[in-house]
Symmetry: C2
Subunit: 192 residues, 2 copies
DNA sequence: CGCCAGGTTGAAGCGCTTCAACGTCTGTGG
DNA sequence: CCACAGACGTTGAAGCGCTTCAACCTGGCG
């Protein structure tokens, strides 16, 4: 149950057996069924989750339309950064796209962890730093890649997304309408 | 010279006088003249900078065209996260849009700081966390706001950008061409 | 079987881009 | 001190790609 977590943690900082065990005691397992929400915009996000199995997304709602911000698979950490860090109401919604198993850590426990074992500050730092890199990469792609280029990048760099996520969600992630993505795929299928 | 830095630091974590003084010893002042580069894509970014005065941007180059990623003014920290953190060649270019004064910290000194005074891990963490929030906000805007909405948001939330940055750079930041931004402004000036 | 979500296809429309010309301001050299 | 160059911004006309709206198809599931 904690193998994947252990690998993920150790890539960020080496831990003694005791430290890891202590970390684990702060986690609570939770299951989500497909489409079940983890967080709704407007609520305050008081926890982050390690994904043991499954797939989740966060998305924005604007004028009744959903816009997918990011997809997360097993092995990664997930939370609403803005709300979790500032205590303000969340802007993003988070829900499961597949039945999923999570390991959840409460905000208060996380702060306690930081205070009691300063070494874990490094964990928090590296976690945030990795999110920065990913987020800036995504921003750049939205800024200067065409929708078709964004789709090709996604196929190349994150095949899981193509395999496991429905087309209309991918379209929303790419910033276009499902019809447009469908036409892009057709264009690519015919030799360009 | 260090007043602004002190304010900025204290908002992230309270420091003793000694800690602050030590922090300052790791900084080197540097001046940049307008348009002078701070970093070129392809180089490895080995330093981050606090901006004491002036204005810088980072941008991407694609097929000979520049795309502005972000603008930074006095009081904020600046660096190429991807490269600084991974040691890989930078993707972004950074240069000054005005004559600027910086306080620069070397990567090695920063790691030393983390190791010697673990408390500063919290500084690094909070710095990264703030960047995450900003970056996700920008991504969201590119994803679902129209160019006109993005421009209005910018006027409302970051008037400095409108006042101090040339239109064609703002257009590039918004993901559109200068001609289009010019037309948007005209549309707004005539009552919509 | 029949419903419905997810995906495809067609036609028309709109907004941003492209290309080109022109206006304005500023700094520089004769 | 004036003239000109160059950077920056505006305006017009034509084009293209994504959107919109609508119809239709397919596969999964009650």
């Amino acid at each position: 149950m904690f193998d994947q977590l252990k690998n993920s943690l150790e890539r960020l900082l080496p831990l003694t057996r005791e430290e890891f065990v202590y970390f684990v005691t702060l986690l609570t397992p939770r299951k989500l069924t497909k489409y079940e929400p983890f967080l709704r915009a407007g609520e305050v996000c008081r926890e982050i989750a390690f994904i043991n199995q499954g797939c989740l997304r966060y998305y924005y709602l604007k004028d009744g339309d959903e816009f997918n911000g990011q997809f997360f698979f097993e092995g990664s950490w997930l939370g609403e950064y803005h709300s979790f860090l500032t205590g303000q109401p969340a802007i993003q919604y988070i829900d499961a796209l597949e039945d999923s198993q999570l390991l959840v850590m409460q905000y208060n426990d996380m702060q306690k962890l930081y205070d009691e074992i300063p070494k874990f500050e490094r964990f928090g730092r590296k976690l945030a730093e990795n999110v920065v890199i990913g987020s800036q990469y995504r921003t750049a792609s939205l800024l200067f890649d065409t929708p078709e280029e964004r789709y090709l990048k996604l196929m190349r760099e994150r095949p899981k997304v193509i395999e496991r996520i429905p087309l209309h969600h991918i379209a929303s992630y790419l910033g276009i309408k499902p019809e447009s993505l469908s036409r892009i795929r057709k264009r690519l299928a015919d030799g360009r």
